[in-house]
Symmetry: C2
Subunit: 365 residues, 2 copies
DNA sequence: CTGTTAGCGCCTTCAT
DNA sequence: ATGAAGGCGCTAACAG
């Protein structure tokens, strides 16, 4: 309950109280020229500023009668404690930073939702920042967050080089990074087991008789891509099928690139019978491209995506995919962060979320 | 450029400088026991605190030599001005609040993205808050935002009763509400022209020969629902077709409710030939339900959705829908808010975003 | 139980 | 061109 106190203050109670009597906010309040301060409340109540502070913060050492008197004045003056002023003293802001590459992408919005939900239950507010996949923008966001004195930071798919990321992370009291590894920096890390994901996908394709399986993957620096590729490769080799580098196509993992990727892979391997895509957006683009080439999914080529965003279930044929619990990933990251904030914990610690295969028509049993 | 200064401070420049020489953050910095303060920088530079403050804020009255000396010290001490302390003095925080019902919904994530993008360009950070459609949670979020002294608030689809919303809004220096009207409160308002949207949808259905058109709408209190309903009704009446109340089904506008809605409408009107849904999620659910009943879309029943979320283009048959530029809606709202912040503007002002019909297979030409 | 004294880190206003 | 004093609104440590 401590963290909640920090951000909501006693007013959490006031709100509930308000609601239970008439559902209407106190209408008998001052014309808000300038906010009422604690000093003013103290003056009106005929007590010292400290007494008000104690009431506001629910400290014990206040007689019930003065507490009531002060509360009364607070309520009908519409006073709200300034968390800015409080933060200046306490050096804590009850505020977190969350940096993602693209909010308007179901994967990240789900993740954001998980983080926010967990933050809310613990009395934190979060600054949501969108890098737009742009490192320069990421830099200026981090500066801004530092100036705001956030209590902790969750950084998702950072585009900064290792050394720079390490230096940036040191400037925050608690940091969790998602979908990236940075050993030796003492950070918290939340990861998807992409190796497993790749393995699940390919194993499934192999089990259902596919042998010439293409991979549309992301940029070489991307950790997710590396993991999925490694799962792909391992599954093939475990099955005694040689890994063929030409069947791996690298591109930005967005829908628009899929057509080009498909064309290329087909030119290399006309009798391709399986395709594993870095994410569902790419997979959906691939489905479209394959259809244009008159190739039937899944009869000719079976397609597997990654993430299981809502579209996956709705395209035709519906997409077989590696489902990642993105909300869960977000809340786990947040829990990790909270733990680090509370214990000033700077030990490395990792949580891993495992994807699971969801079989649909694009690559049926 | 003023707003940018506020949030990024001079460090915006520093970052760029850093990047242009080696792309690496200054590694020669102190062990961050406690943050370096301005006083400390002043001491090291052998100048007064004020001189440092002037340098940090790019004031003119500093000799070039001392400015350089101070900048040097700032850079290799890793000093960052505390925006908390600054806010306490200036009474401005450079932060905004954005409250939405559900981040993990493509409509709102697009809107959030528009707001964030616009906020970023103007040097503001935004607190993103999720009400989960829960009024009580909305209340406590607003209290929290007020304590944080945000400079402005964007409130999307508020669930608070008029009087309470009015009272809450008064507590913030600048407010824009989205998808809701509250005349007489002096707020900025960003709206979708839902009446037009309803009209477009129904006119299209009528033009393509549909006559018995059902409506799956949201709760009666919802402004969006009211607008769309009114457009539906008007289009029918303009065409000389009597409005039939039984063809309007009210439910929570989520996918899960669609099946029940379809069942009900079909029981009332077995030869239904058109269906207008409150949003695409519902429409998608309806498509599914209709298929289960062996009803063919669009041959038997033509279906029109609302929003044009990504799924709309991918379902089969692809959804005809009223496209709302949600990113645009978000940036417009943000611009409106900025204008109000800058001019302490409390006049009512409305921006309206018009939907447009996107014709696909579920209700073809 | 209540009040007093010191700041938190910075900016504003006035001197110099 | 620079500095000193005072205060933003609040809490932490001590008094009593």
């Amino acid at each position: 309950m401590k963290a909640v106190d920090l951000a909501m203050g006693f007013l959490y109670n006031l709100v509930s109280a308000n609601d239970s009597d008439n559902g209407t906010a106190n209408s008998s309040q001052e014309p808000m020229t300038h906010r009422i301060t604690m000093t003013e409340v103290a003056r009106r109540a005929g007590v010292s500023l400290m007494t008000v502070s104690r009431v506001v913060n629910n400290k014990e050492d206040v007689s019930e009668s003065t507490r009531q008197r002060v509360l009364k004045i607070i309520e009908d003056s519409g006073f709200r404690p300034s968390s800015i002023a409080r933060s200046l003293v306490t050096q804590r802001t009850g505020t977190l930073g969350l940096v993602v590459p693209d909010i308007d992408n179901p994967f990240f919005s789900g993740l954001v939702s998980g983080v926010e939900s967990q933050a809310y239950s613990n009395g934190y507010n979060v600054f949501l920042c969108n890098t737009n996949e742009d490192a320069q923008r990421e830099r200026s966001i981090l500066v801004s967050l530092e100036e705001k004195m956030i209590d902790g930071l969750i950084l998702c798919s950072s585009r900064l080089p290792d050394e720079e990321l390490r230096a940036a992370a040191e400037r925050f009291p608690a940091v969790v990074i998602i979908s990236r590894q940075l050993p030796g920096a003492g950070l918290g890390t939340a990861l998807i087991d992409d190796r497993l994901g790749g393995n699940l996908a390919i194993t499934h394709l192999l089990r259902t008789g596919r042998r010439r399986i293409g991979l549309i993957t992301g940029p070489a620096i991307s950790f997710s891509s590396q993991g999925r590729l490694s799962g792909y490769r391992q599954a093939l080799e475990d099955a005694g099928i040689p890994f063929r580098d030409q069947l791996v196509y690298r591109c930005r993992p967005v829908q628009e690139e899929a057509a080009q990727a498909v064309r290329h892979l087909l030119s290399i391997c006309p009798n391709l019978d399986g395709l594993f895509c870095h994410n569902d957006l790419v997979a959906v683009g691939a489905l479209q491209a394959l259809k244009q080439y008159g190739i039937c999914v899944p009869d000719d080529v079976a397609v597997v995506g990654y993430d299981d965003i809502p579209i996956a279930a709705w395209v035709t044929p519906a997409l077989t995919t590696c489902r990642v619990e993105r909300f869960e990933l977000g809340s786990q990251a947040m829990r990790l962060l909270l733990e680090r904030i509370r214990n000033s914990n700077h030990q490395e610690r990792e949580v891993v979320v495992s994807p699971r295969l969801v079989v649909r028509q694009s690559a049926p049993e």
